[in-house]
Amino acid sequence: MSKGGPVVGVLALQGDFREHIAVLASLGADARPVRRPEELDQVAGLVIPGGESSVMDKLSRAFGLAQPLKDAIGAGLPVYGTCAGLIMLADRVLDAINGQQSLGGLRIAVRRNAFGSQLDSFETDLDIPVLGEAPMHAVFIRAPVVEEVRDGVTALATLTDGRVVAVEQGNLLGTSFHPEMTGDTRFHEYFLGKVRAAS
């Protein structure tokens, strides 16, 4: 803990990991990229960023990171996934590519590209009671939605049509959207609360 804050890793195989590192660092965390098992060993929490879930899956398996990640999630490491990261954390992935695997942990089913093509990507305001009264501005980019929620999983936010776009289960957090892009740091602060409580 060289900077005083908790050491938080951001999975840096592909995607917008630099944005997450910047947000976490601005909140006082010692944020670091994680691409290798030995880097994972150093962290007290992990963020899986936005990006292409099928690519993260392949690279995590090709470089021997998938199993250590699964073990860490199973052992209770606080992990927060945004968009592709939510897909990586889901026990079940709908509309996955051939042979795509997830790390699992969240007892949910997630559908990839649930809104359609990039033409359907959008921004909107969401009520997220756990983060306070002010709505959060949320950016959905070829985003997934949570289609099935099992025991022990809390839906933190839904769209007006009722579709679930943010979930919590113990030390695991997932959002369909990208708080790292908007400057609203409440989700990251909420996650860092979990990291501090766990370490």
């Binding site: 195989l13 995607g15 392949k58 690279l59 590519i97 093509s117 990039q118 033409l119 990208h178 892009m181």
Partner: protein, 305 residues
């Protein structure tokens, strides 16, 4: 002019916003975008770990060798590729050909590349990209060109390189030029930025933003001549956010293996041992052409301005 459709920004709510357009490119960072000419190649690219595919009828190497006017691809081909894969699908429109862009948007491609690889349709104007819901990527050889494209609504920039050659030297030149021009702006005092904007032939507001932030407001990929894992890692070490690989994959001896190797080298671009592993046993790279052997009229990077 009182035309309410004249705009140089997109909103902050709903579809087609600036953030949504630029945001998809943010999600592609650290990835490899591969040119494909059939649904079968698209499948190989997705399985190899491509972060997106570029659907086109002929790869640049074939456009170069066959000659003639190169245009937007057949909608049937583009739709067959969209149907085959779940990663984003990009397609190319000719510079200035806003009707080709309208068609591509109606086909629901995820990104349009207004590309110098095709024959330009307008030698004066590029497409006004703001009215479109679909985002655009445009090529640039220097910072001024990149800023002019961003001013027209481009949500992503790729350095041009020299497509279809397998010679990475132009890609190196263009990414180095853009990066060093950004660094030079950052070092200028405020009163020097007015002239810098004039010299770059770019809008002052964008020049000021670059000087403040030290980076482009959109993602910067690199393209044109990348053929090996080492080429991809070179681009990443030079500061690219990701790479386009055109002819380099499907004009090589073993496309699936080469594609996967380039993906690995792009992620571990700063790890020579990992790049060495990715480079083993790939068979023949595309044969290639040295850019210095190309007569000036055949250089695609000089299209666009």
């Amino acid at each position: 002019m009182t035309d309410s459709t004249i705009t140089d920004s997109n909103g902050t709510q709903g579809i087609g916003s600036n953030r949504v357009k630029r945001g998809l490119a943010e999600m592609l960072k650290g990835g490899v975008i591969m040119d494909v000419v059939t649904a079968e190649q698209a499948r190989i690219a997705e399985d190899a770990g491509a972060v997106a595919v570029m659907a086109l009828e002929r790869v640049p190497a074939d456009i170069r060798s066959q000659g003639g006017v190169a245009r937007m691809s057949d909608p049937d081909l583009i739709e067959s590729i969209i149907a085959e894969v779940s990663i984003p699908v990009m397609a190319k429109a000719r510079i200035g050909h806003f009707v080709e862009a309208q068609i591509l948007q109606s086909l629901k491609v995820d990104y349009i590349d207004e590309s110098e690889v095709l024959s330009p349709a307008d030698y004066v104007n590029h497409i006004d990209k703001w009215p479109f819901t679909v985002p655009f990527v445009c090529g640039a050889t220097n910072l001024g060109e990149a800023l002019r494209r961003i001013n027209e609504g481009a949500a992503m920039i790729r350095s041009k390189g020299e497509a279809g050659t397998g010679d990475v030297s132009e890609a190196t030149k263009h990414i180095r030029t853009i990066k060093s021009e950004i660094a030079a702006l950052s070092a200028k005092s405020h009163d020097e930025l007015y002239v810098a904007a004039k010299d770059l032939q770019a809008p002052y507001e964008l020049v000021l933003e670059i000087a403040r932030t030290g980076k482009l407001p959109v993602v910067l990929f690199t393209a044109g001549g990348v053929a090996t894992p080492a080429d991809a890692a070179l681009m990443m070490q030079l500061g690219a956010d990701g790479v386009f690989v055109g002819s380099g994959i499907f004009k090589s001896g073993n496309p699936a293996q080469r594609a996967a190797a380039i993906v690995r080298a792009t992620t571990f671009f700063d790890d020579p041992a990992a790049i060495a592993d990715a480079s083993r046993g790939l068979g023949e790279a595309m044969v290639g052409i040295n850019v210095s052997d190309l007569a000036a009229p055949h250089r695609l990077a000089e299209r666009g301005w």
